[in-house]
Structure formats: C-alpha cells, structure tokens
Subunit: 325 residues, 6 copies
C-alpha cells in the first residue's frame, strides 16, 4: 500500500501544476500521457528533428517546450464557449530519432506514424515538429492512412520547393519531396503567407508550373484571411479524400514569432493565424495537422512556443465545433 504524506506533493503532480485552483482545468490535466490502452480521438505526437534545417535550429526541443506550457493554459475557449476537456485527447509521445543518420530519422517518422495510425484507427493527429522536413514523411504516412488522394493547406513564408540535389531532404524541400514522389498533386496544394525576399524567382516559377495556389503575406495583410482560407480549402479538397494542414510558424511577423530560425518582418499577425486555424479545424475534410519550425532556444520567454500552443488549441476549438451546425 502506498503512503501519503500530508503537505507533500509528488513530483509528477508538481510538474503538471504547482498550484491548482479547483475550478480550473489546465491543458496539462486534460492532454495527459496515453496509457497504452485507451483509443483517444486526438493524439499529440512530437517529432523532435531539426538537424535537417538549413540554418542552425533547435526546433527538436519544441515538443517538450510545448508540454511545459501545458501547465499554464486552460482548456476553455471563451470566444466560442467551448471547453476542450470534453475531447478525448492524449499525448502519445515523440517519434524516436537517430543522432547522426538523418535519413533514418525521416524513415522513423513515416514508419512511426504508420504504426500509430494502425494501432489507433480514427485518431486525429496533432503533430508538433521539429522542422518542416518532417512534413514530407508525415504526409506520406497520412496518405496511406487516408486511403486516397490528399491535399495540403500550408501556412508559411516559404514555398519549400527547393531542389533535392543541393542539400538533400531539408526544411526547404518538403513540398518538392511530396510532388516528386507523387504523393500530392500541385493543384491540391495551397500556400498562404508566401513572403518577399524569402523565396527565389526560379522556385516561384516552379510552383506556378506545378499548379500550386499561392497567397503572399501582402495579400493576407490586405485581404481578409477568411476568403483566402476558403479558397485554399477548396483547392486542397478538390478531388481528394482528406486535407493535411501544415503551419510553419515563421509565417508570423518577427515581432509575434521571435523564436523561429528564419524570421521575417511584415509577416502574418496572430489574429489572422488563429482565425485560419479555427476555420481549418472546423472543416470536416481536414484530417491531420502539423506545426513546425519553432526554436525554443531562441525564444524570449517562450513567446513563440506559447503562440504555437494557442494555434493548436484554437484549431481544436474549431474541431470541437464540427458537430455544431
């Protein structure tokens, strides 16, 4: 029989909440570790790989950085009066990585996610990178899981269609990798937030030739985000079984995402990104979500990690309201 010692809180409880108000649920009390038995509806999966980044990146530390913030945010969306704690969500853990063999890391991601989808059919995956290179193996696994064609809505400053010869499968190539492998067709890819002086003309020409739908950061600034997201969903959903959403946090203005490796000024604002996340979460065809390229080591007071968590929670608010007509 285990002993209880009055006035002493066990270490695991401390990590989840140093102090607790009995009328409040924190994300840490809801998004708890998977027990290996339950069949959760939502699965949080970390993919701690960032050595595949072109510049130095500590994005491999983001899954754990998010888990630390689980103790700070509540589950309640006051705008929509939705409490996420009614969703059966679990933290499945992280895909295992190799220290020096980066192709093995990509293989682990694809196979690990295949395993997850087989073990937990019906799971909606919330995938936290890592850098954007993870989206290529992740979408490959997702396509197998979806059992048909898939589309992509990508919110990003960068097109990510670099050639694969100059550096292999990096955070600059996931979309190119998916196109060249025939996993996704260009006409089912929509990119929102593409930024000047962060992409080259040659790749812009390539993206156009593949039929990718693109909206620039400036278009996001001038137009409402709503209409652009609607168009993106339409393109990604056209003739496909499911839509995969991928968010690169460097799409945000550098003031709002100071902790990304490749920051830009005059990027997207948090209000627009959260609106997009809500809309995408709400759409029934969206069946997977990843969010990438946050470097907690360069992130003052974890501002970018916090915003990342808010994007996830807002996406899930939309998801929770799907059944709500």
């Amino acid at each position: 029989m285990t002993k209880q010692i009055e006035f002493l809180n066990p270490p695991e409880i401390i990590r989840r909440s140093n102090w607790r108000d009995r009328y409040e649920t924190k994300v840490a009390q809801w998004l708890t570790p998977w027990d290996g038995v339950e069949l959760p509806e939502i699965g949080f999966i970390g993919v701690p790989l960032s050595k595949t980044s072109i510049s130095v990146s500590g994005a491999s530390m983001t899954p754990n950085a998010l888990r630390e913030l689980f103790a700070n945010a509540t589950t309640y969306n006051v705008d929509h009066e939705v409490d996420l704690q009614h969703l059966r969500a679990r933290d499945l853990g992280d895909i295992s990585m190799h220290v020096t063999d980066l192709l093995k890391c990509h293989a682990n991601i694809e196979q690990g996610l295949n395993n997850v989808y087989e073990t937990l059919p019906g799971l909606f995956p919330i995938i936290a990178g890592g850098d954007h290179s993870i989206t290529c193996p992740s979408v490959k696994a997702f396509r197998k899981h979806a059992g048909g064609k898939v589309g992509i809505v990508q919110i990003d400053s960068h097109m990510d269609v670099r050639n694969l010869e100059d550096g292999g499968p990096s955070n600059g190539t996931p979309i190119r990798g998916l196109l060249e492998s025939g996993t996704v067709e260009g006409r089912n890819i929509a990119q929102i937030g593409i930024h000047s002086f962060a992409n080259s003309k040659a790749y812009h020409d390539y993206a156009k030739s593949q039929g990718i739908l693109q909206f620039t950061a400036n278009q996001v600034h001038r137009a409402g985000i709503e209409s652009l997201v609607e168009k993106a969903i339409k393109a990604a959903g056209d003739g496909t079984e499911a839509i995969y959403v991928t968010v690169d946090m460097d799409v945000l203005d550098q003031a709002f995402a100071p902790g990304v490796p490749a920051m830009v000024p005059a990027g997207m604002t948090p209000w627009k990104l959260l609106e997009a996340a809500y809309m995408l979460g709400r759409h029934p065809k969206v069946k997977a979500f990843d969010i990438v390229c946050v470097d907690p080591m360069q992130d003052p007071r974890r501002a970018t990690v916090r915003m990342t968590l808010y994007v996830i929670l807002t996406f899930l608010t939309g998801y929770a309201m799907r059944s709500n007509p």
Copy 2:
C-alpha cells in the same frame, strides 16, 4: 549660503535629466515629488506589492521603473495638442509594505489611500501597482472616498474572480473580493479583453451569474474599441457615483507587453488600449485609475513599463480635455 560649482550638476538634477533642451519639458520636470504642502489635482501613488501574485512577479518594482522613465518622455500630446504640464500633478510616493505579512500589505493599501483621500480632498489618484490584488483594497478606499456606489471598467485578459479559499486574496481574486464584500455590484463591472485559454468555464459561468459585462479579446479585435468602451462606461456608471478604471497590462498581446507575468498571444494592441485610455480619461464620471501587473525584471528594454507610462499620459490627456467641450 550654499555654494554653486560651475560645470557641476547636483545628483538630483542628473537623475531628472542628464541633458536638457531648454524648449522641452520632460515628465520628470512636471510630475515632481509632493512637497507635503501643495494640494495637487493629480496624485501619482505607487503600490509596490506583488508577492500576492500566483506566479513569480517583480511587479513591485514598477513604480520606481516608471519614475526612471519620467526623464525620457515629454509632457506634450501632439495628436490633441495638449501639454500635460498645465495639470497640477505630483508624485506622492509609495504605500509602505510589509516583507512577509501580505494581509497587512492589503490593509496598508486601504488605510494609506484613505489617508491620502482625507489629506488631499479632490485628488484624482493615478495608482501604479504592483499586481492586481491591490485593486481590491484600493476600490474599498475609493468607495469610501466616493461616498456612494461605484462601478469598475476593467481592461484585462483575466476575469479575476477566482475563489478565495484556494489561495487567499491574490492577483486572481480582486473582483471576487469586491463582489463578496459587497463593495461593487456585478452589474456595474465591465471587463474588456477577456482571453481564451486564460480563464476557466466555471468562472465564466460565475461572472455571468453576477451580471458582469464582458468583451473578449477577439471582440476587441473585431469591433472598434470605441463602442465597447462606451458600453463599459454605461454599465459601470449605471446608478453609481463614480467609475474606477483598472488596467491589467497583460491584456496586451505578448509582442507589445513582453514584460508581464502572464502573457498571451493575440491580445489587445497598443493603439486600442491608448484609445480606451483616452476615452476613459475624458469621461467625467471616471474618478480613479490604476494600472497593474508589469514585471520590470522580465521586460526587455523596459518596453512594457514605457507602454504603461504612455497609457497613463494618454489617460491624463483625456482628463485634461474634460473641460474642453
């Protein structure tokens, strides 16, 4: 007879302005220490208490941090062509605090403000926290001073209506404390900027049951701040003698207020907060103002302290224009 030494500036002058342009007035030359004799119209009062915060907070250092910035800002509002130096304003100093007896600190605040209001009748208080717990004793003193019912306009990400059993009177409870003590009625409280994932459903239900008027951060983003402030003033002023304004700086987006203990993404913008401050300053029923929850120890280049000073100066611009039809 005191000696003057040419080319030597006394230390007190140095603190107020290292270099002076003869055609410019800095806040430090206008908002000078009270001499114990004058009857100023505006009194700046520091309330350096933040051990009552749920998380670690250095907000007790804010009054002095604001005083340091007095040397940097001028008194001139170029938008309204108003020079604040025509207001008779003085720095009254700080409420004295106890190192370990936090209830005594709250008692000092209430009694100290009672003393101020008795000694300096007609004073308009500009109260700088400290954390939000100070608003409870401060409004109690204010109600006595006002001689009748008072209302509150609160600009904040948080509802601050936590139960008082789990942690005593903290920065999460001032509104609860005022409601339970009967100091203010719920229907005279208006909250602007309430944020998702920063409050719980149970407290949302409680606030509704008390008749508190609430506008979320998202509503502020979508609507003009003007209409919301008008509605808030109407609720706070309905049947009351006076309105007390309380601003928690964590209402701002984390990019604009990086130095608050409980920061949120997608919060209010500085343009909207200054507009609200101006409108509230201008309204004749508003008769007290506090601003809280800034931690100078976590504030890069004092950005949040600076914004706090601008909120105060903009509120006073509105105040200075009250007589201006």
Copy 3:
C-alpha cells in the same frame, strides 16, 4: 596560377553564403563591393556615425550589420514579381569618420558624398546611417548634386528641429540645420509618424511656423498610409527638382523595432512603412534615400536591422518598377 583545393571554400565566399542553392540569388551575391571601375545605377553607402546622438547609440554599427544580413535575404519580391538582381547595384563602402572630432565627421559626410556624386554621376544613393544627424550634411551634398531646390519626405517619430545652441548638430537637429542653412524650405518638408510624448510643444509651434507638413502616428494609424504619402510627395515635390527620402526607424512601434535608441509604443507598423517605402521608391522625383537610428547592439536577433534591409529592398522594388507604367 592559383590553386583550387577540392572541398575547401575560400573565406570570402563563406561570408557571402555558407551554403548555396543554385536556383536562388541572395542580396550578397548581387549587392557586391564596387570594383572602382563600374558605373553602378544604385550605390549603397554606409555612414557609421552615432556619437552625435543625444542618448547612447551604437548606430555606427548598422552598415556592417546590414552587410551581414545580405547573405540571408533573396533578391526576389514575390508580391510584384520583381527580381532586384536586374538592377546594377554596388556596395561603395563607408564614409570615413574621426574618433573624437564630430564636426569633422559631418564635413567628411558632405565632402565624401560630393565626391561620390562627381565620380559616379547618375548614381541613386541608398545611404545607411548612423544616426539622424547625418541627414543634414547628406542633404547639403544632395542639393548640390540635384542642382536646384530639393524637398524632403521624412518618416519619423520626431520632428528633429531642436535648437542648435544646447547641444550642437545632433540627431535631434538635422531638419533645423537644413532650415537654418537655407538648404531646404519648410514648405517642402513633410513628416509622417510624429509621436506624442516624444516632442515638445515649442518645437511643434516652430515646425508649424516653418510650414512643415506633419502627420502624427495616430493619423497614420487611422488613415491609410497611401493618402498621407501622396500628400507628402506633393508637398516635397512642389517647386523642387528632387525629393530626398529619410526614414528614422524609431517611427516603428517598439515591438517591431526593438533596436532603436529612442523607442515608442503605438508607433507605425511594418506593413505601413513598407507600403510607404514602395510608393516613394516608385515615384520618379525621389532621387535619394537614407535610413537611420538603428542600434544593432540593442537589437534582439537583429530584428530591426532585418526590417531596415526590407525597407531598402522594398524601396528598390518600387524603383525597379518606375519604368513599368
């Protein structure tokens, strides 16, 4: 004959790009050092002077800080589908400065720029400060170069018309210096972004008396930047041969320009500043450009230097489109 060593990159190449994608041009590959022979169309000129600042400033380090970022940004503006690499642009280097004789520094700027304009007739100068004091000698040289009256469009939180008696020619006086020397008339000066609590009433009165056109930060917030820039161009171009554009980066909100010595809250946003830069770049009467008052020593992750580079590149995008009806 020089030897090539396989797998070894010479140090000069490393500085320009640690890794290169063959389909991408970085600013560093386009804006290369002048070889002393070419006649470039665009000349980047550093003016590393900031001891003339009233407060401590490291703005003298900005030209080299910009050069370091040349390796990170591409030359392609995706919004306008313009590739800057078609402009013949060169980095001419920096004006030489004296360690302790600040009047000599100003003289070097004026004479150095005179020499540049004589040696490279037809050059469009992109001048990177340094602090705002450099604009006075720079406009004097520009006026000689322009061969007639010139106007100024200034984007700035400050009026920069302080008296010259209290501190000599500092970063608070360039416009006063140009007015008092008869270099520019007040009615040909337009200032956008003037900020409350950052200027004094006496200088506001002076600016009005000189006929300077002013728009406050609040007006920029409420109005579209487009109409204000149009009015500014009209005033600056009225009866003049050419317009000189000067941007003080402290016009931006402190969240977007954390690395300026005299930061303000509720300043201009990057979207508006880039729009202004584009419009000014596009206007045929604009014939010189400077950008000042960024302190790389106080700039987290070079965010303000990066924004400065984007302002330059966006201005040049407008310039590149001048011939485009």
Copy 4:
C-alpha cells in the same frame, strides 16, 4: 494490455532522456519519483517558497529547475570513482505552499518535514529551496527528528540574523529565528563566506555576542577551505547530536552564481564550495542538507542551477564514501 508502438517513445520517458547511451546513467534515471512504498536512504525534497525574500526572488522555481537538469548530469564522480546510482535515492516531491499566507507556508514546511521523518525513519534529507527563510522551520523539524541538540554549518555571504520586527520571518532571519526560539545555540553555528558590504556592523556585533563562529569571504580566499570546514564542523558538532548543513548559493562570486537575487563580487569559487560540500557530505555527524536562494528566472543558461546540482551530487559523493575508511 497496453500497446507498444514502435518508433514512439512515451512522453514520460522523453522528459527523462531525449536520447540515451546504454552505458551511461543520468541522474534522472537514478533519482526517480518515490513510489510511496520504498524506504529510500536519501530523499530529495523541494521547498518552493520565495515570497519570504526581501528582494524579488523566483527561488520557488528551483526544485523543478533542478529536476529538469537531472536529465543532463551523470551519476558518476570520476575524481573519487564513485557511482551514486548505488545509493537508494528518491525524489519525494515538494512541500505544498499557500499563495498568500506565508506563515502557513512556514508551518507546512515544519509539519511536512515532520511527516516525512516519521514516515521514512532513517531518511537523509536533501532539501532544495526556496529562499533561506525555509531553513528556520526545516531545522526545527530536524531537531525533533534528531532527538537532541543540533548544530549548523552555514555557507553564506550573509549572517541572516536580522531582527524579526521589521519584516517578519524572511530570508534575512533564519538564524535569528533559530536562536530566539532556542532551537540552536549560537556556539553551535558556524558561518563560512560572510561578505563585506553585505552585512551591517550591528548584526556582526550580535553574531559575536551569540558566539557564532564566522569566517569571511576573504578568509576563505586566503586560507584553504579545508581547515575552515574542519573548524566549522568542530563548532557545530560540539555537544550536539547532529549537524545540519545549509548552503546559500549567493556565497559564490557573481561570475559563478549569476542567478542569485543578492549577488556579490569576490565571493567564493566553485572549487572551494565543492570541496566543502564533499567534506561535509563525508562527515558522519552531518545528517541533513539544504541549499537555497537560486533564482532560475535570472539565471543565464541555468548556470547557477547546474552548480547547485553539482553541489548536491558532490555532497552525496562524500556521503557515499562515509563507509569508506
């Protein structure tokens, strides 16, 4: 039956080691949470209280900050060829604290430790503060546990004998509190590292009058630490049942402990503090250990927390060698 998913590591394992070398034991794999059943020899106990500090302190975050570093350090002391994993050590968790009632916090510490000592007789406590105020209730509990007189070896820049009237039981008063309550006699207290300009003459006189043995920082610098520790042990052990060791990390020079609230230059070096910790760990009469006053919020790259962990591990190395003649 629980499922295993290949290539997926559960979240709890990730926190303890993102990657593991099979031939290496990290502290996190050894100092694991207590299961409520075992009778460990060593118990790690967090005491997250720092609102009792005179200046702002985040020392309440130190127990969890230490736990995070458990994943980085190994259990092997190469100097003495001792592997700590042979000690039965467990992490018991943290004493529970009240948000605003600081006397209640002190009562919880004393009662909580009493409970621990009753539940786990024979336990050697490693207590991690929190600030130095915790040492007063901790030694009170320890004295009850020891069943006789106890002595104290304190390694600290400060004497901690302030009067209890001016601020109550703070981090400046633990020794005064123990003296006035009769818990410990002055002649059984030895202080090492007392610093100039960090204490007052009046308290120096008081300490002398109580018979406290004191060595200044300068004496530590000039003499070998060994002889001073021997003298300290002798005084603390003279006529007592057991010795309680308390280390205030502000005893270190500010270069070596940048993350303490009250830092001093020319303090102790890490080599001397580790030597002292080893000697004290080794001495059979030493039966409790606490370490306090580290603020992780002000600690660049957790340098001071890391040093704190090394002090604990080095103390335990000495402890492990007690049986080794």
Copy 5:
C-alpha cells in the same frame, strides 16, 4: 507646515531604500547628495563622458548606475571591521557635458575639477567615469591641486599611449596626453595588468622608452598582487607630491567584468583587484582615485557596476584605516 501621510513613503526615500532594516546602513544613507554647505572629506564625482571611446561605449551611464546600487550595499567592511559611515562623504554630482563638442567636454572636466578643488579644499576625490579619456584632464586638474609633481598607478589591460594624430584624445590616449603635455613623467607611471593581444609592439616600445613601469596580466596571475602594488607605489611616489590612482575595469577577466567595452579573457581576478584597491587606499601618498570604462548597457544584472562599487568601497576601507597604524 508639511503634512505626513501614514503608510505613504515619499518618492525620494523610496529610491534610497524600498525597505529598511533599522540596524543596517546602506551606502545610499551615507553617501548622500552634497548640500552645497558642508565640507566633506570624500567627494563622489561623476564624469559621464564616453563618446571619446574608440568603440561604442555607454560608460557615460555609469555614475547614475552606481548611484542606483548605493541602495543595495551596506557601509560595513566585515574583513577589517570598518564602518565607512564614519567618513564624511558626499555625492557632489556630475561634471556637465556637451552633446557634440568633445573637446569642450574635456575642458569642462579639467575646469570643473579645478572648481571643485578650490571650493572644497582638502577633498579626496572619488571620480567615476565615463571612459579612460577623462583621466587626462582629471590628472591635469589634480596636478594643479597637488601643487607639485604627481605619479600615477594605473590598473588596466591597456597602455593607453596611442598616438594623438589618428583619432584625437580618446580612451586610448590619456597616458600619452599626460606625457606629451608634461603633466606626468613616464618614470612616475606604473601600469598593472597589461594584456597580450590587446596592445601593439610599437606602443610597448614607446612605453619602455618613456620609462613606464609595467606588469602584465600574466605577471599579476603568477606573482602576488601585493608586491606589484608596492613596486608601483614606489615608482609613482618617487619624487612626487601625490599619487593618482586610475582603474580601468577592463583589467578584469571577462567573466568578472562582462560589462566593459573591450573585454579580455584571462584578465585579473576580483580578489586581486580588491586587494590592490585596499593597499592603494591605505597609502598616505595616494590622493585621488578614478575608475572608468564600465558600460551599464552591456552589463548583465549590473555585475560590473557592482564590482566597481566594491572597488570604491574597498579603496575607502583602506583610506579609513590610514590613521590606524
């Protein structure tokens, strides 16, 4: 009659001590502003000039940064059992500076100090820079004050004998300026702490030719500081009326002085610098003291400013013990 308000502390008192223990004297309660009437024995004088530095320096902010720390340190030296509050010391303020005319700044220093010495005969000056350029005009005034030949003991990584042609009187030239002006003879100058890779061979040869006595950082490391200081005092005092001590804080290792513009690794340690300060303070021929080249803007948690204050207080401890045989 002035009013007292219970529980309210006036702002000036707050700056000197937010909380006070009645049995403790802080530097701020002792080193108070000069009232223009007293004849203090010790005068603290700020010289806020650093535009004369070769690299960017904020050393002009050091006098006020020191004043802020006056509230944190006590007056009691526990090693020597000396309480500095028995010295009649006052803060005289700062020498006034011009914004852009740096020669005028140097003239103000010389004339301002002449004025101080005439007004307050017998004053022992404690001069806080600013950068090292201030030592040239300061020693010129001191020589006039001393009424005969003077010697210099300089503790510094740099020789400061650069030529005056390449940059004028900068922080690299004070000793050259004093030699060329005939103010001091080379044989009466002793330099302790001269560092490799921070000086050139040509200037080493020059210093030798002038007869300057030099000890390198490595010699300080290997030898005891005591013998070197004794030799330095002997050289500086040989045939002179008085010795002027000048300390450039960049003599310290960069770990101990992270806030100097020109930091070096493997520099002096704080224990040795404090010992030197004590010995120099104690010597009857030493009659002036300056300390320079600390940049509070680059100084994490004010570590270097704090060490600067400790050097001053330790020097004054020696001074206080002069009468003590």
Copy 6:
C-alpha cells in the same frame, strides 16, 4: 584604372578595421585570406559541422565568429614580447559541408584536409570546429600526412569514447572512432580536464582498458597545469611521429566559457588553459591543433569565441618561440 573616392573606405577594408591606428596590427591584417598561390607556414581552416552533436549546437558558426573577432585582437604577445605578424599565416577557408548527409560531411573533412596537406606541404594546421566529431576524420588525415604513428593531447571535460552503435559518429565518439579504426593507440592518448558527473563509469573503465592517460578537472585544479601537460606530451609522443592537439572548450568552467553546449561548473580556468596552449605550441613534436564545441548563438558578447581566439594566439606564441632556445 580603378577610381579612388576620398573619404570613402571600400567595404572589404571596413570589415577588417573600422578605424585603424597606424602603429597597431590587428589579427585581421595578418591572418588574411589565402590567395591560392602562397605557401603559408600556418593555415587557419574552418570545419563548420555541428549537426553531429548530441544536443543542439550552433558550433558550425564558430569559424566565421572567429573571423569577426580577428578585427579586435592585436598580434602582439606582451608577456613573451612576440609579435605573431612575423609568422606567414593565412586563412584557407572552410571545409564544405552537406546539409543533411552527415557521413558525407565527415568524408569531406578527411578528404579536404588530405587535399590541403598535399597542396601545401609543410603547413601547420589550425583547425576551428565545429563540434568534436570533426577530430576523428581530421586525425585520420593528419596521420596520413604525418606518415607514421601519431599521439593526441586532448583538453576536454569529456572522454569522447561513447559506443558508435547508439548514435553513430557524434561529438561523443571521436576518440572511440580513432581507437576502433586503429588510427591511434590508447597509450598515445592523454586527456586533461575530465569532469565528474559528465562521464559514466563504463566509459571510464573502457578508457582505462585502452591505456588512455587521464587527468581530472580536480587534478588540474590542485596540481600545476605544467606538470600535467608535460606528462601528457610524454605519453602522446611516446613512439609517435607527431602529436595532434585537440581542445574542447567545454573543459573550461561555465563562467569562463558560457557559450558551449555542454557546460560544467568548476571546470578549468583560462589561465591554465592558456598556459597549456603555450606549452603545447612550443613543443616541436606538436604538429596540428584543433579547437571545438563553441556555440556562438549561446555566447553572451562572444566571450567564449574570444577566449577561443586567445587560445589559438597563445598556442601560436609558443609555436613562434620554438626556434628560441
């Protein structure tokens, strides 16, 4: 013919020295880029690889970070009165790296260095990492170059003999890789600075079994570094043609090397490391030098990069004195 513009310094000159004193040589004026023709005696070679690190590391940025500091340090060692500018030294550039294929990176290092040694026979290489994984391919190339057995003197907190199965060739395995490949014998390897709680017992046993000579950090603290270096040279030189020196900067105490990924408290001091570097530079059998594991992204004010440069310059001082009996 190229044009000269008075008062304008070309950008390449600016990078090497913003301001120049004609009597001073900076490292940047001496260690200039190789022109592809000369046969330098000393070659500086960057190896920008750090994705092979177990934890996140930006050490790939160190070669360029060192180059930036070349403009700050002089070439003159005042302790030994040696001016390094008499050595024919050139900056050869960096080994080229692949973005994602880390085995290819290691192959490039080995082949690139082979190419360097063939092209420039007689070259003494100064190799700047990168992380410690580079030492394995570097020593392989060096052994081929040396034409016989080689020994290693390693100054490091870590043994670097991890198994190669768990993570491939990482920064934890270079010595294991060299042993298993038969490149170096254990009895010719000497390690200085091995640290407690940073290595495991199993690897200590392995190192002993291989005959590696080890001195712990504590032994370095207690003994003079001189005797340990002599013993290390003796072991490494016993029966070998040449000695390769490798310095891992994490051997330093964290106060002196705040910018290394795996920092330790109570590490080596800079005075001892420089003494070791001097002795090793001076020894005729030492024929190669590398220095690794500095992360400029985590290095406040480049303190660790600066110390790295001083280690190189001090090593070269010893080298320059080899001919000096």
